[in-house]
Amino acid sequence: MNIQGIGILSGTGRGIKSFEQALERGPATPKVSMYSPATNKEIPVFSIDNALLKDPLVLKSSRRADRFCRMAVLAAWDALADSGIKIREEEKLGVIVATAFGPHKTTFNFLDNILDYGDAAVSPTIFSHSVHNAAASYITSALNTQGPVSTLTDFCFPFHEALRLAEAWINQGRCQYVLIGTVDELSPAMEYICDQKCDINEEGKMKPFEFSDKAQTVPGEGSVFFLLSKNEENTKYCRIKRKNEAAVADMFILESDGMITDETVYKQLDTGDANLFNASPIFGGMMSSTGFHCASAALMLKNDRIYSKFAQDQNSHARNSPDNIVSVKYCCNRNKAIVRLTK
């Protein structure tokens, strides 16, 4: 499949240009932190400024949408806009939203209602937004598209499963284009869970190439969407394919972002003398981070360059720009999933 457009919303800002500029600038530490009463300390987080989630034009059919849905709608809208493609009705646009935790913040708001007001006095609006597919619903309304739509959830490989389904839909001819993306958000409860489950770097520094058995992370949130088309068409960015096994590549993105504690498994991967890359120091650690890694790969392939500040080999700007990039993610059970992006 070909990537024709990218929309992205993360701690770096909104839009692929903003993401590109963040890649130029190099690793960052988050400006936002959250106080954890459990540990009596501040936890740095790569969170999205709420001011970015206000766009009356794009969100006019999503006025009641929660933060999770707004993040998804804006990234999906931007991916389509970035492509410049006007999809005709008969071509059909599919939508696949993947998430690890869904709109958990809204679920907790609903629990607030139950706890504060009792079973019979809860808000129907909050309940209807607590279902995982609310974001997909808002996307289809915003884009007025009636093609196939699905929301998938997986803790390990949500983006890979979305890619798998997109490939099947396009091959089956169910649609000519598919908007696929991931969305996950932070909340006080999720930050607490991250603090309990992960080792958080208190200085806000991601260290992706340490491959430690006590890996650290800085929690992040965001949404990234790609407009995909079939291979036969010209591509704005690059080709993308989910793979079962890692092949030879010019560059490997190792998605070591501290979301699994033991990252020594990444050392076992045969990457030859390929350059290693990881841009998570601008968006943080997320269960659904693969889409963000793929966005960085797509930009490198499109722009014929390496954002060397995120490469293990800091002198990699002297290397040839990659023609193919493999992004590898391991889960805590040591299963891995791979995406290959090529010019």
Binding site: F101, A120, F127, V131, Q146, T153, E161, A168, Q172
Partner: protein
């Protein structure tokens, strides 16, 4: 791409029965096993369809229900999943199991800023597809579909896409959901839970009853079925889906997403509406759903089409519904009769079509199961029986 997908085996559990045989008995006798909610404390005095006298297989009730349905499917399966040389995928639909909604965890966190993390650990272990993969040591594709009330149907459709796209050879597909306090409170707030047993498509319908259960199909690419030496009778002939792009909770007044889903399924199977023998409708018994769905069915298939809703026997089982009803549809095709639509008495002239009032013999090759959902998701699964 047009390879046949056979239904190699099935299993289900709901208030209508803990397996397919019990379910058929319930349908034959017209029993409606509805009662007070006993699974959790609630201020709401609403009836629901619980699976009674059920010994949990796991602490996680949704997973337990799913395992019960899978075990029945495996008992009836000619092949062998353990140690299989084939690529076996798992695709399960749900709503409740996907949500981090543990009240005890959240209450403690809300009050003190900290909480025992063990419910979160249980939640992280509770992804239904992951749990099945661990249970049966399967390494094919696996994912959970969370399209609200069409999740079960869409999970079967997703598995079908995998099989047709050579991403696996066999798939365990279905849906599961437990009766849970969150949707009970939520649907009550929406004002769509009936105080009485639900009456799908009836002119005096007052809303839905919630239920719980699981439905599972073992699907195979036809070439695999022939290698296993089985002769399947039942097939998933086609799957279609479409979005309303209209409203988060209300169906599009003209049912445009549902029409699109049904049209896609018929087109994929290369058949006409006239070849569909009967329809297991989503039929939740809410005023909006039944009006839109009934009108679409009448418009596409005519007022004489045999149709029914099985929710009068199971309640609305949310993420499980589409899968349970696909099992019921396939069972009805196989058995040659469909149950009456429990709860229905009087025709709603605004809908203009009535579901079956009696258990009815059928002799058709194709049957349709429809699902509508929050978010404007619509799904249609076309089941085929071969003589």
């Amino acid at each position: 791409m047009n390879e046949h997908i056979s239904i190699a085996s099935m299993g289900c559990i709901s208030a209508a029965g803990k397996n397919m045989a019990e379910t058929l008995q319930t349908f034959k006798q017209g029993h409606v096993n509805i009662g007070k909610i006993t699974l959790f404390e609630t201020d709401l005095d609403k009836p629901a369809f619980e699976v009674k006298d059920y010994v949990l297989k796991r602490k996680n009730r949704t997973l337990s229900l799913l395992l019960t349905a899978v075990e029945e499917a495996l008992e009836n399966y000619d092949g062998n999943l353990a140690g299989s040389k084939y690529r076996i995928g798992i695709c399960i639909g749900t709503t409740v199991a996907s949500q981090l909604n543990n009240i005890k965890f959240y209450k403690e966190f809300k009050e003190t800023g900290r909480s025992d993390i063990s419910p979160v650990n249980e939640y992280l272990k509770g992804n239904l597809a992951d749990a099945l993969a661990r249970e049966y040591k399967l390494n094919g594709p696996k994912v959970v579909v969370v399209n609200a009330c069409s999740s079960g149907a869409d999970a079967i459709g997703t598995a079908m896409s995998w099989l047709k796209n050579d991403q696996c050879d066999i798939a365990i597909a279905g849906g599961a959901d437990e009766l849970n306090k969150i949707p009970v409170c939520g649907f009550n707030a929406l004002g769509i839970i009936s105080d009485k047993p639900c009456a799908p498509f009836d002119k005096d319908r007052k809303g839905l009853n919630l239920g719980e259960g699981a439905g599972v199909l073992i699907l195979e690419r036809a070439k695999i079925t022939s290698k296993i030496n089985a002769r399947p009778e039942l097939f998933i002939a086609a799957y279609g889906s479409g979005s309303d792009a209209y409203h988060l909770t209300a169906p599009h007044p003209d049912g445009r997403g549902l029409k699109s889903a049904i049209s896609e399924a018929l087109f994929q199977a290369n058949i006409t509406c006239g070849q569909v023998g009967f329809i297991n409708a989503h039929g939740t018994a809410t005023p909006d759903n039944d009006k839109v769905e009934g009108k679409v069915i009448k418009e596409l298939f005519g007022p004489e089409i045999k149709m029914y809703s099985s929710k009068g026997y199971t309640g609305h089982t949310l993420g499980a519904a589409g899968a349970i009803e696909t099992v019921f549809t396939a069972l009805a095709l196989k058995e040659g009769w469909v149950p009456k639509s429990a709860g229905f008495k009087n025709k709603d002239e605004e809908i203009g079509i009535s579901p079956l009032k009696q258990n009815t013999k059928v002799n058709s090759k194709y049957a349709l199961s429809t699902s509508l959902a929050f978010g404007g998701n619509n799904a249609a699964l076309l089941i085929k029986k071969e003589a």
